[in-house]
Amino acid sequence: MEFQGLRLDTSALKLLIVLAFCAVCGCGRGERIAADPIEPHVTLTPRELAAGVATVATLRLQDSSRRPLSGAELQVQAFMSHPGMAPLIVTAVEKGDGVYEARLQLTMAGDWILRVTGQLPDGRMIDSSFKAQVSSLKPNVE
């Protein structure tokens, strides 16, 4: 095959297509790290978030029969909605009875995504995200 005077090897093209297909399958949702359906219950204090004000994220972990899950290693990653900004990464401290706490200082007004990741002692993974609105004008939380 020739394109703008440049000869293209068709087998190379086929290889490219196969690689592209593998890339699609490889990074598809189905291939991502399996997350256990355990969803931490998250409470933010203060309830009305403001830029620069210290915030405590309280994470409560329970199994399906509402028994507290202890011994998890949890991390809270706070991402600003706009790309190109450093996330805030904080390790949550266990307070007992399946309750964990992470102290955050969200530095900028706007929309944030808080991602809770971690692992339970039995190896089950936790990966859950939720959004929070930080304001310097009219604070509120979703």
Partner: protein, 477 residues
């Protein structure tokens, strides 16, 4: 002294003259576009952790402006949409010509505003899948239009990115132009625009000429030039160079230019210049805390509840009311100062509108440069994170999320510098126009435009000093 001609430089010049130089840049950008689309559609929903949003809204926009300021319109050179279009044209060559009545920039100006509106309304920076779909839409539109219509119809009359690049490239220091005008006077073939043809079969084009209708001997400036180098390849006399030139000086030129005509007769191009300049302020303002206050106030005043309505109103004010007020007042004053020798108020407005482009470029550069400089390294942890997603293990190490870029505070002086540089460019162009049109009172005639430029620069510096407040998260729930 012979002007600086990059095409004569040893390594860079030789590479740029290589027949496949353009294709090689296009292939790289096509691979990056593929990564953007795939990660945008199948990667994480969190914008700062997705290559679609990081590469598009941090790196692509920033590097595009850097290239325009440092050299020229090289992102149009490497446009991957055109590469795919060219492949399509090998299967189905276009047969129709772009309709004559549509050979203006009006649709392009509308699309440019529409993309900016969609960016703000849908918070595209925060939505990896939407960013991927936007890229696919560009590919689809370029492919569909250019498989029907000949030449570079999509680039010249529709592409919003192209119009941004054309407008900004007037301040670029490089320009493709004729080396020796005398050589062109004796040229019979005009291959630079017609393309090189097979001697035995003249209908067969072996090297295309300028697809945007720019005939090199009468081409002035960078408007509508995609730096595709087709003219360089086609010229049988090797008479086209990539020359150094005083940035923005072309805006004061009155001559008729090939493929464009006279700037003073192009209301559509003047509208593009004005929208380009004021949209720079709007786009930067929209990411600050006061913008949300203004939008909330607009919603309250109009008694509406729709975000689209208040945003549309903000667009009307920023891209309609403000330019009409500023430019109308300045044009009326200049017309009065020139004792109407400069023509009607609308003619003066048309002539001087182009002078605002440099300050507009300064604001765009300050805004996009901020994201690039403060977030340049964020691509590294995002790639590391993508590797974890793909291979279920940290193949490239654990994401170094602390890697970002310069501190915002350190970038602010650079931003102010870029805005001031742009403002000085606008002042210089306005003065040059006055010198040409009102030689008896150039200083006084420039004064209203100097005030407009200073006001725009002041608004820009104030805007960029405001705390950021980015709304919109690409996450369900």
């Amino acid at each position: 002294m012979r002007p600086v001609d990059v095409l004569r430089w040893p390594v860079v010049g030789r590479w740029l003259r290589w027949k496949h130089a353009r294709t090689s840049i296009q292939v790289v950008l096509l691979i990056l576009a593929t990564v953007v689309v795939l990660h945008g559609l199948f990667g994480p929903d969190i914008a700062p952790a997705n290559l679609a949003t990081v590469l598009t809204w941090v790196h692509y926009r920033g590097l595009l402006v850097v290239a325009l300021l440092a050299a020229g319109n090289f992102f149009c050179t490497g446009c991957p949409f055109v590469l795919v279009r060219d492949l399509g044209r090998r299967v189905r060559p276009p047969t129709r010509r772009w309709p004559r009545f549509l050979r203006t920039k009006w649709i392009a100006v509308f699309l440019f505003v529409a993309v900016l509106f969609a960016y703000e309304y849908f918070d595209l920076w925060a939505l990896p899948p939407a960013t991927a779909y936007l890229v696919l839409a560009y590919f689809g539109a370029a492919f569909a239009i250019d498989l029907i219509f000949t030449g570079a119809s999509f680039c010249k009359y529709l592409c919003p990115i192209g119009q941004f690049n054309f407008a900004a490239s007037v301040v670029s220091p490089l320009e493709l132009r004729v080396r020796e005008p005398d050589t062109c006077r004796t040229c019979q073939s005009h291959d630079c625009i017609r393309g090189r043809r097979q001697p035995a079969a003249p209908a067969v084009v072996t090297q295309r000429g300028c697809e945007l209708g720019l005939f090199l001997p009468t081409k002035i400036g960078n408007l509508d030039c995609t730096f595709c180098m087709d003219c360089v390849q086609a010229c049988p006399h090797d008479n086209i160079g990539l020359m150094w030139r005083p940035p923005a000086a072309e805006l004061a030129e009155l001559q008729r230019r090939s493929g464009i005509g006279r700037l003073v007769r192009r209301k559509d191009l003047a509208a593009l210049a004005v929208v380009f300049t004021f949209a720079a302020l709007l786009n930067a303002f929209a990411m600050t805390a006061p913008a949300h206050g203004v939008q909330a106030w607009l919603t309250e005043v109009t008694g509406g509840t729709s975000e689209a309505m208040s945003l549309a109103l903000l667009f009307v004010i920023a891209l309609g009311v403000m330019p009409l007020t500023f430019i109308g007042t300045a044009a009326a004053l200049t017309s009065r100062i020139a004792r109407h020798s400069a023509g009607s108020v609308s003619q003066v407005a048309l002539r001087y509108s182009y002078a605002l482009i440099p300050v507009g470029v300064g604001v765009w550069a300050a805004h996009y440069g901020f994201h690039l400089l403060t977030g340049a390294l964020t691509v590294i942890p995002v790639i590391q994170n993508a590797a974890i997603d793909m291979f279920s293990r940290p193949l490239l190490g654990n994401p170094l999320w602390q890697w970002t870029g310069m501190r915002p505070g350190a970038v602010f002086p650079i931003q102010v510098g870029l805005i001031l540089l742009g403002a000085m460019g606008s002042l210089a162009v306005a003065y040059r126009i006055s010198e040409s049109d009102q030689p008896t009172r150039p200083g006084l005639s420039t004064l209203p435009w100097a005030v407009v430029t200073i006001v725009l620069a002041t608004i820009a510096v104030w805007t960029l000093s405001q705390p950021m407040d980015m709304r919109g998260v690409g996450l369900a729930g």
